[in-house]
């Protein structure tokens, strides 16, 4: 009989296990990841101000496997955030149609396609 609170902070997964909720989680997580990624990206590109050689030495970082994994994750996050966002724009701005529910599958497909395309060119 462990004492606890009725509004326990931990989220109960059982009531959140439906497609629209997964879409929300993916959208939010990918968005936050992208916001943290952007300063790094802008800084790296800014190295071009020091000249091509300096820029090149900075880009050598991208040879590390761990960096490649991170790059793939960011590309996938970007594709997922974009396609999920387009699904939301349709749900919010177009008169509601039942087939809009399947937009999620389309969005996921697009994200995976971009992710794979990146992956195949990366390795």
């Amino acid at each position: 009989m462990r004492s606890s609170r009725a509004d326990d902070v931990r989220l109960d997964v059982r009531s959140r296990n439906h497609p629209a909720y997964w879409a929300f989680v993916v959208h939010r997580v990918s968005g936050v990841l992208l916001v943290f990624f952007l300063p790094v990206h802008f800084f790296a590109l800014g190295q071009a101000l020091q000249g091509e050689a300096q820029f090149d030495s900075y880009l050598l970082w991208t040879e590390y496997p761990l960096v490649k994994v991170a790059e793939f994750a960011i590309v996938f996050a970007l594709a997922a955030h974009m396609s999920g966002g387009m699904r939301l724009l349709m749900l919010e701005f177009l008169a509601w149609r039942d087939w809009h529910q399947s937009l999620l599958a389309v969005a996921a497909g697009i994200a995976v396609a971009f992710g794979l395309a990146f992956l195949f060119n990366l390795v």
């Binding site: 936050v32 820029f55 974009m82 701005f93």
Partner: protein, 127 residues
């Protein structure tokens, strides 16, 4: 017995019309970003085909009016879209609301715009 507290209406720091227009700005910037991101993803995937190098990036962007304009708009849309989105995430997860959050998001927008436009300049003109 729990006596319910009276939930007074929120003291808004922004007028309702402003809140709605911020929401709209985020959706409009999303549309702009949809185009920009599609182009950027395709370009990136094409560019890394034989490994990433400065030459690969700069040969495309150096002195290009087209890429300047494209990336400048891209950065502008990001500077609008990301802070408005992050504002919601922060208010919901950290329960941070009010003027201080709004001010922080304006600072974020300025920082993203500065960092982004500096990066555009770097690959188009600098070095």
């Amino acid at each position: 017995m729990n006596v319910p507290g009276e939930l007074s209406p929120p003291a808004p720091t922004l007028r309702v019309r402003t809140q709605v227009l911020l929401w709209a700005a985020q959706r409009v910037s999303a549309l702009v970003l949809a185009v920009c991101v599609l182009v950027h993803l395709v370009t990136t995937i094409y560019a890394i085909r034989n490994g990433l190098s400065a030459a690969e990036i700069l040969s495309r962007t150096r002195g290009s009016v087209g890429w300047s304009a494209f990336y400048a708009i891209f950065v502008g849309a990001i500077a609008v879209h990301a802070p408005i989105g992050l504002r919601t995430v922060l208010s919901e997860t950290l329960h941070w609301r009010g003027r201080s959050l709004d001010a922080a998001m304006v600072l974020l927008a300025l920082a993203l715009a500065y960092g982004g436009w500096r990066a555009v300049y770097a690959v188009v003109a600098g070095g």
